[in-house]
Symmetry: C2
Subunit: 225 residues, 2 copies
């Protein structure tokens, strides 16, 4: 059985909005609804765990009903950092769940096809992480906006979510994070820290992360609404 | 006086199209027309040099007339690599041009506002390069799609075009490239190689590079056509 953990507990500090980012509107729906609908429509996902700030739990329940998210199993309260929110989601996974797809609600362009590809990779290799080849030239700028040097991008990828893992693997990785107190920017990094291989799943379409307010317009256009 | 060099001589090898990438259609226009129109409408640009494959020069002339590109000064033939095409453009700049904005036609979302910001930076600092903070986590994968490690993205930027420079600076950089035979992935790298500072201009909206065929759809939606 495969579950999704959708993380929607972040505050959009770069958005200029004093509001939970995942609950900002994109067209007629809150941002998080698009991810919920993608996982709802994906045949490889049986359960959804939603992580929101404690104050949002009731609103999230209503939202899930409104958009017919029948796979929603539980809504749990998030923590101070993203990895605390993911941990809270991992803790409530029922024992029959062997694979978990972790996704940020700030990526509303996720599709059922992408979710399935990461699940397939996780079933075969233990992990499947949405990834895009580095297209642009990469610069290191150590002092403000003055370039220090160009970075060789030949073997660089950007990674997004969903990031899907076998449950024992990601639990082991999160247990180690707790012991060491390390901070990570994605779940794959937690797996890397225990020396286990992480497998990338190339996904060519844009899998935008909504970070600045311009991204809301971009996302709306790409969702064709 | 400020000129633009628009580079449209590349073949879209990753597009599956046996065709000059910049001449693929996005809605009702060839891709290169969007960049031409952005530079035409930018008050900080007085002249446009277009670089295409030799076989495309006549078609490009017709295209420029059709879209009313009155600033088009010259169409020159490109070279084997991108930097050869840029060099051919630099060689025909008239002496009154003190600043040049180099742009890839594969980035049809460029706007007059972005062009102006890079020109302003070049007038003040000698260079102005369209740049975006690294939003996604970055992974190094040395063997296929297996992650070697996470790269610290804190001071990493992706850079795009336009990249605008004072003409003596970029000419000096290209002269050195010729001497050393080095290959660069962008014009800023040529300036870095002569030890001169390159200034990034942060641009929040998506400045997509059309690389795979899915990007044509994305670009069409974002151009609202």
């Amino acid at each position: 059985m495969t579950a999704a953990i959708i993380v929607a507990a972040g505050r959009g500090e770069r958005m200029g909005a004093n509001y939970d980012k995942a609950f900002l509107s994109i067209g007629p729906r809150p941002m998080v609804a698009y991810s919920m609908m993608a996982f709802e429509s994906c045949a490889d996902i049986q359960q959804i765990i939603l992580v929101v700030r404690r104050e949002r739990i009731d609103a999230a329940k209503g939202m899930a009903q409104m958009f017919g998210i029948s796979k929603l199993q539980q809504i749990v309260a998030g923590g101070a950092h993203r990895q605390d929110s993911v941990r809270n989601g991992l803790e409530v996974l029922p024992p029959e769940v062997q694979t978990v797809s972790i996704h940020d609600a700030a990526r509303p362009l996720v599709t059922a096809a992408l979710i399935s590809e990461t699940v397939r990779s996780a079933l075969k290799h233990g992990s499947g992480v949405a990834a895009h080849r580095m297209v642009d030239t990469v610069k290191l700028a150590e002092k403000g906006t003055v370039v220090s040097r160009t970075v060789d991008r030949a073997k660089l990828w950007t990674v997004q979510t969903p990031q899907t893992f076998s449950v024992p693997l990601i639990r082991q990785a999160y247990a180690r994070l707790k012991e060491t107190g390390q901070q990570v920017t994605d779940d794959a990094a937690a797996v890397e820290l225990i020396g286990e291989p992480v497998r990338l799943v190339e996904w060519a379409p844009l899998n935008l992360k909504v970070t600045v307010s311009e991204d809301l317009t971009t996302a709306a256009l790409l969702l064709r609404i």
